[in-house]
């Protein structure tokens, strides 16, 4: 029973840790499926985390915070779009620049705004997304096996968690079952085909980038108003890069993205849980446990995942006349 409880707790933790990765990963998925590489996920997430916490703190309204977070993330996404679509700049450079801008501006503005060194004040109850308790979750708690699964694992997450999980099938549907999805995938593979079919490559790519911005906005807002209660500088802590890794892991597919992010979440949850292990006389150093998710990722990558082939036209600006 105790083992079972532990499993539930670790899974619960894995879900929470996976969600920001998942949202960022799906953001990258739309962008890269449309042929725009984005290593600026991290920066957009950070900026969104900052502004959603900032606005939520200032207004006490988490919804306003959420919209502000999405808005700033979309603005950064559009900068990336202007640079890489309109001006055919280097997408990697543009992404790097956005990461720098976000890291700097969040603190500079935050300091000017709240005077807390880039931190926002801790958010009050209404400034945060609270956990949604599902119907009769409490009553079912003591039912063996299914009770804890329902009341702890399924119930009791914030609104954004369920939104993120719903976005997975939605993304799949949009990408593979709609006109927009067909065109988006095509523009990431061969923009020439899209162009000769009489569809605007530029418009499609901008929509990809904007969707990416919205999803990164959700990811950031979840960090600062769902998981934490306020913004702390650099709080995205490299999650945008892990999301990119997950994206490659998932071979640019939504359901696999969910799996990859859950795997990363799970590995981190396990590493959190078992930081100091002693096997006989040998004490495994905590640093090893902390590196374990990364080591396992490499092992899995080398062992099980074949070659991940990115969208063909990704990273290249579309130029028809040279």
């Amino acid at each position: 029973m105790e083992v079972f409880d532990t499993i539930i707790q670790i899974s619960d933790s894995a879900v929470r840790l996976a969600i920001p990765l998942l949202l960022a990963c799906l953001a990258g998925l739309f962008s890269e499926r449309g042929g725009i590489f984005d290593i600026g996920l991290e920066g957009k997430m950070l900026a969104a985390a900052f502004l959603s916490a900032g606005v939520a703190a200032a207004t006490g309204n988490v919804w306003l915070g959420l919209f502000a977070g999405i808005a700033v993330s979309v603005v950064l996404a559009l900068i990336h779009g202007v640079a890489s679509i309109t001006f055919r700049g280097d997408q990697l450079i543009s992404g790097v620049a956005i990461n720098f801008l976000a890291a700097g501006l969040t603190v500079v503005i935050g300091q000017a705004w709240f005077g807390l060194g880039g931190r926002t004040p801790a958010l009050p109850g209404d400034g945060r997304f609270s956990n949604l308790e599902w119907p009769v979750a409490d009553a079912l708690k003591d039912v063996p096996v299914l009770g804890p699964v329902y009341s702890e694992l399924i119930s009791g997450h914030t609104f954004l968690v369920y939104v993120a999980l719903l976005i997975v099938p939605l993304s799949w549907y949009v990408l593979f079952r709609t006109r927009f999805g067909l065109r988006l995938r095509a523009v990431g593979e061969n923009p020439g085909a899209v162009d000769t079919a009489g569809i605007s490559v530029v418009k499609l790519r901008y929509s990809a980038v904007i969707i990416c911005g919205v999803l990164c906005g959700l990811a950031g807002a979840y960090l600062s108003t769902g998981l934490a209660a306020g913004f702390v500088k650099d709080m995205s802590a490299g999650r945008g890069f892990i999301a990119l890794a997950a994206l490659i892991f998932a071979k640019w597919r939504p359901v696999q993205a969910l799996m990859a992010c859950l795997l990363f979440g799970l590995l981190e949850a396990i590493a959190n849980r078992y930081q100091s292990i002693e096997i006989g006389a040998l004490e495994i150093p905590v640093q090893f446990m902390q590196a374990l998710p990364y080591i396992l990722t490499v092992v899995i990558l080398a062992g099980f995942i074949g070659k991940a082939i990115p969208p063909k036209a990704g990273g290249e600006p579309y130029v028809k006349e040279r």
Partner: protein, 308 residues
Amino acid sequence: DPAVIFDLGGKFDKSFNEAAFNGATRWAEETGGSFLEVEIQSEAQREQALRRFAERGANPIVVTGFGYASALDTVSKEFPDTKFAIIDVNWLEGDNIRQIAFAEHEGSYLVGMLAAMASESNTVGFIGGMDIPLISRFACGYAQGVKAANPDATVVQNMTGTTPAAWNDPVKGGELTRTQISQGADVIFAAAGGTGLGVLQTAADEGVLSIGVDSNQNHLHPGSVLTSMLKRVDNAVYDVFSAGEDLETGVTLAMGLENNGVGFSLDEFNESLLTEEMRAAVAEASAKIIAGEVVVHDYMSDESCPVN
């Protein structure tokens, strides 16, 4: 003018840099004076900032953190007429240096006792930023305090990471808190900078107690923060600034319980959390430590901890 140079974490690190900043600000507000300050960005700037302030005639100059030890060693010799103070270091030599070292283990011991007494599950937690000796000193003092108050209690320990991001990841702090709660912990001590904010927050959300660090963090979540382990860097800086150019140097101040260098916070936010019994117990322990009857083991003395 006096000057203060903060460590890489920056003056808003929710930890001792911030405490130093608060001390300096308090001095400025009380005296109307002004001071120079800088947050460095890279290792190479340690010496640079020290030297540039000294050249400008700043006196005295406070540097926060052991990271400055070797830089100060060099620069203090170049400026024999400038007075320097360094926090968290006690191994330098120099007539113009005041070294201020805190006995974090003693303060941690007291909050460890409080944690053990407040715990109903007999399990308490510790969340540190990185696995470095300074944090181990906190952890070790804390564990000793816990065991002293309740030999049967368990201490769950976690570190948040291995990169500088470890100090600024409240999300991870929150997650570790939940993990520790699921392992039974109902009082959790966070010594992890900005990450600690996530610990305190989550503890409040989940209805368990937390313990703040360095500055008084009781007000962050009234009724949920059991107490804060105080490290009075603010007082140290305030004293240095107040003494001004008359600062007594060539000394090493050991800031422990006896001179109120460390301690725990008691204010209107946690009055109701600390029972008479608990207060009495720590007062007694504190007296014994000051009297030398109880020796709190300092992790740094032999780099190991008798309990964990």
